[in-house]
């Protein structure tokens, strides 16, 4: 009797599961038209941090372009160092009929490129990578996208340099000199600090991980307790450094999402210990990218040509594209901070040809008798922290290889 019941139950379970699977299959076949697959490294449910910022951008593009839920397929919580998992996710997206696949994390790069070669009728877009596949004949369907985030790092450096009293500023960074995204951020931040506070030092600790709440916090603890830092900033994914700064009664500057919201107490809207945050606005890219990719397909979602995509090419947005911004300043920023930041924002709004962070023109700010600040430009020689001169920093350096720290940076681990 017992056996019979068990068998009956097992059969029931099998029927229910197969019905479920069939239901998903029919659901897939019913919808036609353009479909986008997105690969995220962290859970899509996160309410702050890296994946959150990207997902907000996708949702913005979806809303702006009038896409439906069924047109956007998400694969989240996908570690970017697990080739087989990444391959499986991409294959599932292809099987479900995606016309465009977006990978938001650095580590998806090689897998995406392999599939881009195999599937010329699908558009691939990869964030934060460096593989430039355009111009290699048939392989013109994958681009990479990123932005001059170092511009906002410079702005946040101004805020830190103006606020610090101990002249020690901490920086928890995900990776070291092997990753230009990180070094360019630290260097731009330091140049921003020095523009307003030439005596301040930036203490760097390298995490060798992008997402590690416990150690991001632990590193910030060390920077504050042992190096006397009274402002800490981060280039990593969690609210750990901001939480540590709040606990020690010092200040922090967030990254990726607005940390003033993330560490706020119940009933408090913005935590005042977070001076500001460096924020991406990925929606600015996703909207134009998806719009362009859609032009490569007809209304049923059949591939026509990738001409438009090739024309669009790789994307390296700057301040004028609205790809990033600084979060609202905290009340703890000293007087004049907002004014000085606005002055530099005005310069950035004119593009990067006039002035850019890594050129040999330094900015400084002079307070006039009327209490208003003006920008003074002066010549300088960029130096690294080992005393070598740095010349001709190009976009290729900033995105590909910047294996040095500028003078004023003190690195405490490897």
């Amino acid at each position: 009797m017992k056996k019979k019941i068990t068998v009956l139950l097992l059969v029931l379970v099998m029927i229910v599961t197969s019905l479920g699977v069939m239901a998903t299959f029919t659901a897939c076949n019913e919808t036609s038209g353009f479909k986008i697959g997105v690969l995220h490294i962290n859970p899509v449910s996160s309410t702050s941090g890296y994946t959150y910022a990207h997902q907000q951008g996708i949702l913005y593009a979806k809303e702006q372009l009038g896409l439906s839920d069924s047109q956007i397929l998400i694969k989240d919580n996908l570690p970017d160092d697990q080739t087989d998992q990444i391959n499986a996710a991409i294959e599932e997206l292809i099987a479900e009929g995606c016309n465009m696949i977006i990978g938001t994390s650095f580590g998806y790069m090689e897998e995406l490129q392999a599939y881009a070669k195999q599937y010329p009728e699908i558009i691939f877009s990869h964030g934060t990578g460096y593989l430039d596949t355009f111009g290699e004949g048939e392989n013109n369907n994958m681009n990479n996208y990123f932005g001059r985030i170092y511009q906002v790092r410079y702005l946040s450096g101004l805020v830190a340099g103006l606020t610090t009293k101990t002249n020690n500023i901490g920086y928890v960074v995900a990776r070291g000199t092997d990753t230009a995204e990180c070094t360019s951020g630290v260097n731009a931040f330091t140049l921003g600090v020095q523009a307003v506070n030439p005596d301040a030092k930036v203490h760097v600790m390298i995490l060798n991980s992008w997402y590690d709440l416990v150690n991001e916090r632990g590193f910030a603890d060390t920077l504050i307790e042992s190096y006397n830092c009274d402002v800490v900033t981060q280039h990593c994914d969690t609210e750990g450094p901001s939480a540590s700064a709040k606990e020690h009664g010092v200040f922090s500057i967030g990254y990726n999402s607005d940390m003033a919201l993330a560490v706020a107490d119940e009933g408090v809207e913005r935590d005042p210990s977070v001076l500001t945050s460096v924020l991406w606005n990925w929606g600015a890219y996703y909207k134009v990218a998806i719009e362009t990719a859609m032009k490569c397909f007809d209304e049923e979602g059949n591939f026509v040509s990738n001409e438009e995509w090739v024309k669009f090419g790789n994307y390296y947005g700057d301040y004028t594209n609205g790809l990033y911004k600084l979060a609202p300043l905290s009340e703890n920023c000293p007087e004049g901070t907002a004014e000085i930041v606005a002055l530099v924002e005005d310069i950035m709004a004119t593009g990067t040809t006039e002035w850019d962070v890594f050129t040999n023109t330094a900015l400084s700010f002079v307070k006039g008798e009327d209490g208003k600040y003006t920008v003074v430009k002066s010549e300088r020689q960029l130096m690294d922290n080992e005393g070598n001169a740095i010349n001709n920093v190009t976009v290729a350096n900033i995105t590909g290889s910047m294996p040095y720290w500028v003078a004023g940076v003190e690195v405490h681990n490897k």
């Binding site: 991980s209 119940e266 490897k414």
Partner: protein, 330 residues
Amino acid sequence: MNNAVMAIILTIGEAIRRGTPLLLGTTGEILNEKSGSLNLGVEGTMAVGAITGALLGLTTSSVFLALLGAFIGGMFCGLIYAFLTISLKANQNVTGLAITIFGSGLCLFVGETLKSSGKFPSYTTSFYNAITSGGIPGLKDIPYIGTLLFSYNVLVYIAIVIAIVVWIYITKTKSGLRMRAAGENPAAADSVGINVDAERYKNIVLGSGIMGLGGVYMALFINNGLWNTDWIAGYGWIAVALVIFANWSSARAIWGSYIFGLLLALKSRMPSLASAFPSILSWSTAIPTEVFDALPFIVTMLVLIISSMRKNKNSGCPAGLGLNYFREER
């Protein structure tokens, strides 16, 4: 000089903070193992304690209720484990692993569901102050000594007290003798009238409750009450190995946990030690941080290898560990 002393004190402090969840997990596991159950569900039990304790604490702003919630959450896991292995005679290892998967999954499910719907509670200012600004008032302001001994949150001291009480209970009391008998030789214990099943049930549930406290420590004191998909982060597994390292003695587990806490703390504290003692420690800045990540687990492996090679008479390992007791097969 002052900087150098402070760097050492802060490193020790971090070791104690990181070691405390290990101490709670280990003490709980010692209660399990001494009564004969090899409970591999520490990681999952801590996860359930973490989520129940953190949610209760965050919503009520009471540290006491957070600890109580964690204790009950841990006991709940212990009860499942005890029912499966004692009443239903299921395999202990498999059940323990099932508890780990179940507990971690439950914690992730509840946390993610709340977080994604925006309902994960954030702390009130008073609760935040209660969990972050620990220490014994007055005493903690003594220079150096105060920071070293009296500046920790309440659970650090509770953990030490629990470890000592458990040690006294196991080694010095009559009921401790009974539970050890149930773990060493359940058939012999049964023949002198000890209720083996009841002894095991009692100690599993109590020990799991203590593990739950370790879980809420990870959630509130290590992660500041901020949701993290991996609150326990492998500490439960280190605790299982620490039991062997401590030779099944919760008194020895105190310094054993702090040694492992030091290994965990080195990643963030080594640079400050290197700055304080540049002549002897400057080489350490060349070590990639990944090495520090791996260190506690490498040492865990070494501990297991060494302890398995060295079988001495003084081993505290119960003879009946991992074996279910079938009364009918005596």
